[in-house]
């Protein structure tokens, strides 16, 4: 097991190197000179000042050297200062992280709580209209543009019915520990973010449950005279749940990536929204920190998935 973990960690290194190259390149190759951009309009700004700034930021060195400098700094925990806020980019990003994690975790919970039972139900009622409805939902949930669903829900629940707030995490001026207020703000974005996952889990669980129910040990359990409920929930479901773990990597990816749009629609002050706003403002240090951080998170979650998969399913060869 230890070898397995170490090997997987080593495999992640070239991936992270590749990601860092892309992240670095995106900022450096994009049109527009950052120094010209942020000194624009300063009256007595001479060519000499320009060269001095270029040198100060190390932008006069050859690209590969700049890349090495950049990576070395990352290992020291620094992505540089935000060009707009003049604060450490990574620190600013980390201040937004809890908000994104909150949203993603609640969405993950919603996915499991709704998606898994839906899939099992569809499998148990195979061929009925319930099964048909859940299957169509399983496809439709992937096909809805999440940002649009968010807008429709805002129009419906926030503007017309006035049941829920439309944007942000808290009511401005409220006590920030008002849990009820937080939950109200959380409901719409978390549900929209969860939708794809609900659809995903319902599909996966349906096929898996059907697969497992057709296996010999289920027939054995039946023939032993066990109650239907015991067979389904104790014998079958435990095996059908294995792919819930395998799907986790992809679902985390969808949560992290999808959160960006949802955060933007609901003005949720998270990592995605922050990175996106920075990209529009061409605030490269924040963009780089955002991409590097979420990508690392993603690579780690793939790693975690493989690991848990090996633990949950002893049939997977470790080593």
């Amino acid at each position: 097991m230890r070898d397995f973990i170490i090997r997987r960690l080593v495999y992640a290194v070239p991936t992270l190197i590749g990601i860092s190259i892309i992240t670095f390149a995106i900022a450096r190759l994009s049109p527009g000179d950052p120094i010209r951009l942020f000194t624009f309009g300063i009256k007595d700004f001479t060519q000499e000042d320009y060269l001095r700034l270029l040198h100060a930021y190390g932008l006069d060195k050859p690209m590969p050297l700049q890349y090495v400098d950049w990576v070395t700094n990352i290992f020291r925990g620094s992505f540089g200062e935000s060009l707009i806020y003049h604060r450490d980019a990574f620190v600013m990003l980390m201040e937004r992280l809890p908000n994104t994690l909150q949203l993603a975790l609640v969405a993950l919970l919603i996915q499991l709580i709704i998606g898994v039972p839906l899939g099992v139900l569809a499998a148990l009622k195979r061929g009925s209209w319930v099964d048909g409805a859940i299957r169509i939902f399983g496809v439709a949930g992937h096909a809805v543009p999440a940002f649009w669903l968010g807008l429709i829900l805002i129009i419906l629940f926030a503007v017309n019915l006035r049941w829920l707030p439309s944007i942000g995490m808290l009511t401005v001026g409220h006590d920030q520990w008002d849990i009820a207020d937080r939950i109200k703000h959380m409901i719409l974005p978390a549900f929209v973010l969860a939708l794809t996952g609900i659809a995903n889990y319902s599909r996966i669980l349906r096929t898996e449950t059907l697969d497992v129910l057709a296996q010999d040990f289920v027939r054995t359990a039946h023939s032993k005279g066990l109650r239907e409920r015991t067979v389904v929930y104790v014998h079958a479901l435990r095996n059908a749940l294995i792919p819930v773990v395998t799907a986790l990597g992809g679902i985390l990816a969808a949560l992290v990536g999808g959160a960006l749009v949802i955060e933007q629609v609901f003005s949720w002050p998270g990592v995605g929204q922050f990175t996106f706003q920075a990209a529009i403002a061409k605030d490269y240090p924040i963009v780089q920190a955002g991409v590097m951080f979420t990508s690392t998170l993603l690579v780690l979650s793939y790693l975690l998935r493989d690991l848990t998969y090996a633990i949950v399913d002893p049939r997977i060869k470790v080593g």
């Binding site: 543009p145 960006l260 061409k282």
Partner: protein
């Protein structure tokens, strides 16, 4: 389907032609009974035809150009009285239905063309990686894991934010970023197929690598590539709409289903119908594509689980 089979049969020398007829005709037989897939296909064709004929509709049915404004008829509710306002009008009196038709052209074109780029890149890289293995495979796999390691939307949004693409660049960007899933699938299939007896047999009679790859391995992967293609087009249409919605895809005045929504958001309190219609069209199109993908998968490969 049947015509495709026929042409393949004609192209291959009779002595080496593989009896592919049974797979396709079997798939066709199953598909004909799959009402959901056929329905989805018909709806998609209608949507495509409507978008394609957008200029005809705007000239002869609605008598309203897509950029035409009418400040006396802003925020018209959907009505049957004036065909141009069938789905309402926006804040400067443009006809929503005409703009939706034109928007469909861009959204569908981006989806189909970018998917074609994805398929080309994904299939050729996947096939080479799986067939040649070794360092080439390592290199291609490295690129794939790297691209998969970055949340796709982050990458796309940031590239789009920094370069501000038009329809063509958007197709290129999505086309060059979204192929990893297809490639991984083709690679895996090729890995398994190249060990099979018919490949060894082809090699013993002196077939070159290229012939084995394109004549023996690719036809075996091809059926499921159609499934991936249908799903890929759907995913790209969703991506394009999200990008355009965030103001980073295709910019107005060229309408797309995504950027029609950006505009509608600013006025949704006064005109909610402007928000509903583009979203419904995106949803319907993508749903049809996904249903077609599912139906094709069931029809083409009975062994495959319907995940």
């Amino acid at each position: 389907m049947a015509t495709t089979t026929a042409t393949v049969g004609v192209l291959a020398p009779p002595s080496l032609a593989r009896p592919s007829r049974s797979l396709w005709s079997n798939a066709w037989w199953k598909l004909r009974r799959d009402k959901l897939t056929i329905g989805a296909f018909i709806i998609l064709l209608i949507l495509g035809a409507l978008s394609l004929a957008a200029p005809l509709f705007s000239d002869y049915v609605f008598h309203y150009r897509f950029e035409q404004q009418d400040l006396l008829h802003t925020y018209e509710k959907p009505t049957f009285e004036n065909p141009a306002y069938l789905l309402g009008s926006d804040e400067i009196g443009r006809s929503q239905v005409v703009r939706l038709l034109y928007g469909g052209r861009i959204s569908l074109t981006v989806g189909f063309v970018a998917a074609l780029v994805n398929l080309t890149v994904g299939v050729s890289l996947g096939l080479s990686a799986g067939y040649f293995r070794g360092p080439l495979d390592d290199a291609i796999t490295w690129v794939i894991t790297t691209l998969n390691g970055i949340p796709q939307l982050y990458l796309l949004l940031i590239i789009a934010a920094l370069w501000q693409p038009g329809p063509l660049t958007l197709i290129v960007i999505i086309g060059l970023l979204n192929w990893t899933g297809i490639s991984l699938f083709v690679r895996g299939q090729t890995f398994a197929l190249r060990e099979r007896e018919f490949v060894t047999a082809a090699r013993t009679i002196g077939a070159k690598d290229r012939r084995i790859m394109f004549r023996h391995i690719l036809p075996n992967v091809l059926p499921l590539i159609f499934v991936l293609a249908a799903i890929d087009i759907g995913a790209i249409i969703l991506l394009e709409s999200a990008l355009s919605f965030l103001g980073l895809g295709i910019l107005p005045p060229t309408p797309t289903w995504g950027n029609l929504l950006t505009n509608a958001v600013s006025y949704f309190v006064r005109a909610w119908w402007l928000v509903v219609s583009p979203g419904v069209l995106i949803f319907l199109t993508v749903l049809c594509l996904y249903l077609i993908g599912d139906g094709l998968r069931d029809a083409l490969d009975p062994r495959l689980k319907t995940h």
